[in-house]
């Protein structure tokens, strides 16, 4: 089997120089899935025949001497919360175990048009609720770097599939860190785009005002290629935005490694003194690297970000309780019609048997914070704190181009270690949640540390300033 680097640029160059065929890349991916996924359990379904058929078509195109565009023949896995017409879409939930998507998500349409080959659907925490992928109704994904550890979540299957070379790239969704935290745990790059940059049409809604689709890859540059193909306004999502020309993905700017004079902010709230020593050491190294390239560091204040988790755990379940009310056993999914006498009984039996424990907890928490007498104390208050957090970031970006902090407070934790302690699991997202609450972009970049599990650092950029965080990340990754 031919050796090649799992990078879009390299594969594309090798395709166009005739050194590699799309079918060879696909056969390598299939071979990796066959040999590794029994243990990693990243995939819920694999599109073997579709992959081979598409690769054969591209082989023929290559043989005719036609050049392949950047994403043609690039294998991508897809989080199972994103719809691909004609394929199962379960969101790792029992209630959708037998559901087949009736339309394509907008991101799927756009990526298919760009020539991407979809490899299959990946495991996640049920309806994207969790930080370890252990809340899946079907299987527990393991971390490819250490099978006793979690891959992170909720998009753990996507991250593991790229880390184990069972796909070159992947897409997931990020509501409170579900792309960045698994990217950090699995040692790859993961980008949460600005809210509104990418259409959510065809992504199963968890918390609609926070959800955003984004890429996983082995480099920031590969993330840029994927984002470039799927971003932009969409008539099917009223929150998607037409991106100004000056803020569209600019590869010339990203690839230019001159970052001297750029300003990075550090705050004691997002890089606290009591962080674990191994994370602290890595963060110090990153700061030294950027300083050596002429980047200027500024102290900034983000005083309200410490309220990120309580704010998130009011806003998110409030939206979850509304969004998941559509699963009632009537129009699709698990139904207990034949075992019920009344409509109410059917609702209750279908939902009780179809939802897992974490989904139930969040739906009920949402109902609690929205109920009469509590609404102002919780929901209105959380919306106000969200505004205060947004104001914090707005003020910070008047001084700096990006903000640096860890992605996660530590490396990947053990399977089963936190599953019975939901609050401890929620605290995992302390560094990722503020970006979702503010609606800004953020990227997790892996750092290779000897004798340690992967660690990621995070760069947060202002609204629609993906070019800045991608440039800073690319500069770091080019130096290694």
């Amino acid at each position: 089997m031919k050796e090649f680097e799992f990078s879009i640029e390299t594969i594309n160059q090798m395709y166009n120089s005739g050194d590699l065929k799309p079918s060879e890349v696909i056969e390598t991916v299939i071979s990796n899935i066959d040999s590794k996924d029994e243990e990693v359990k990243a995939y819920l379904s694999v599109f073997k025949e579709e992959m081979q058929k598409k690769a054969t078509e591209l082989d023929a195109k290559q043989k005719k001497g036609e050049k392949l565009t950047k994403l043609e023949g690039i294998p991508m896995s897809v989080k199972d919360a994103i719809l691909i017409k004609g394929h199962k879409a379960t969101s790792s939930a029992k209630i959708l175990e037998n559901y087949t998507a009736t339309y394509d998500a907008t991101v799927i349409n756009r990526l298919r048009e760009s020539g991407i080959i979809f490899t299959g659907k990946t495991n996640l925490d049920e309806f994207a609720m969790g930080s370890s992928t252990e809340n899946s109704a079907f299987q527990k994904t393991t971390n490819p770097h250490d099978k006793t550890k979690v891959p992170g979540g909720s998009s753990g299957g996507s991250a593991a599939s790229v880390a184990a070379k069972m796909a070159v790239v992947s897409i997931g969704s990020d509501t409170g860190g579900s792309i960045r935290q698994p990217a950090s745990f699995c040692g790859i790059t993961g980008l949460k785009p600005t809210y509104g940059r990418v259409s959510r049409s065809g992504l199963m809604a968890m918390a609609s005002s926070l959800d955003q689709v984004g890429p996983f890859a082995n480099s920031a540059l590969d993330c840029a290629y994927i984002l470039d193909a799927m971003e932009g306004q969409d008539d099917l999502d009223a929150t998607s935005v037409s991106i100004p020309a000056s803020q569209k993905i600019n590869f010339e700017y990203i690839k230019d490694k001159d970052i001297a004079g750029m300003k990075i902010g550090i705050s004691k709230e997002m890089l606290p003194d009591d962080i674990s020593p191994e994370i602290k050491e890595v963060m110090d190294q990153i700061i030294e690297f950027y300083k050596s390239k002429g980047v200027i560091f500024e102290d900034i204040e983000l005083p309200y970000t410490k309220y990120g988790i309580p704010t998130y755990y009011i806003l998110m379940p409030a939206e979850v309780s509304s969004n998941l009310s559509r699963f009632d056993g009537i129009r699709y999914g698990l139904s207990k019609f034949d075992e019920s006498d009344t409509l109410q009984e059917m609702y209750q039996k279908s939902r009780t048997q179809g939802f897992g424990e974490e989904s139930k907890r969040r739906i009920m928490l949402g109902a609690y914070v929205l109920s009469s007498g509590y609404y102002d104390a919780y929901y209105t208050k959380a919306k106000q704190v969200q505004q205060l957090i947004r104001n914090d970031f707005k003020k910070a970006y008047q001084k700096v181009d990006a903000i640096l902090c860890p992605t996660s407070p530590h490396t990947a934790f053990g399977l089963g270690e936190k599953i019975d302690d939901p609050l401890s699991m929620y605290l995992e997202d302390m560094f990722t949640i503020p970006a979702n609450i503010a609606g800004i972009t953020a990227i997790s970049v892996p750092v290779q540390v000897k004798n340690s599990l992967p660690i990621g650092f995070q760069l947060m950029g202002n609204h629609f300033e993906e070019n800045i965080v991608l440039k800073l990340s690319h500069s770091y990754q080019s130096q290694k």
Binding site: Y313, I330, K381, V385
Partner: protein
């Protein structure tokens, strides 16, 4: 957080929590509520502003179902329905006879 409240929320959301798990569920719920209650200490008042950008919404356009969905898509949607009868979605009676 009483078990009665869990039952009440279960009734509101059409969910039932397993009796054996109710105690742990209730304890976890209580811890989470205690955590989110931190916000009550914040006394700052702030106007909630619209998000970063202004949305431009298109005019509503009426598209008849026959034009909106192809025959294949309609069939796929119907195939997902747990119970149908004579081309309609079947639901349980809301009121008992």
């Amino acid at each position: 957080m009483s078990k009665d409240l869990i039952d009440e929320l279960g009734e509101l959301t059409y969910l039932e929590v397993n009796t054996e798990k109710k105690k742990a569920f209730s304890n976890n719920f209580q811890e989470i509520i205690k955590h989110i209650d931190q916000l009550q200490d914040l006394k700052e008042e702030v106007d909630i502003l619209p998000y970063y950008y202004t949305q431009t919404l298109r005019e509503d356009v009426l598209i008849p179902t026959e034009e909106r969905y192809s025959k294949d898509t309609k069939k796929a949607i119907f195939d997902e329905m747990p119970k149908t009868q004579d081309g309609y979605l079947l639901v349980k009676a809301i009121l008992k006879n």
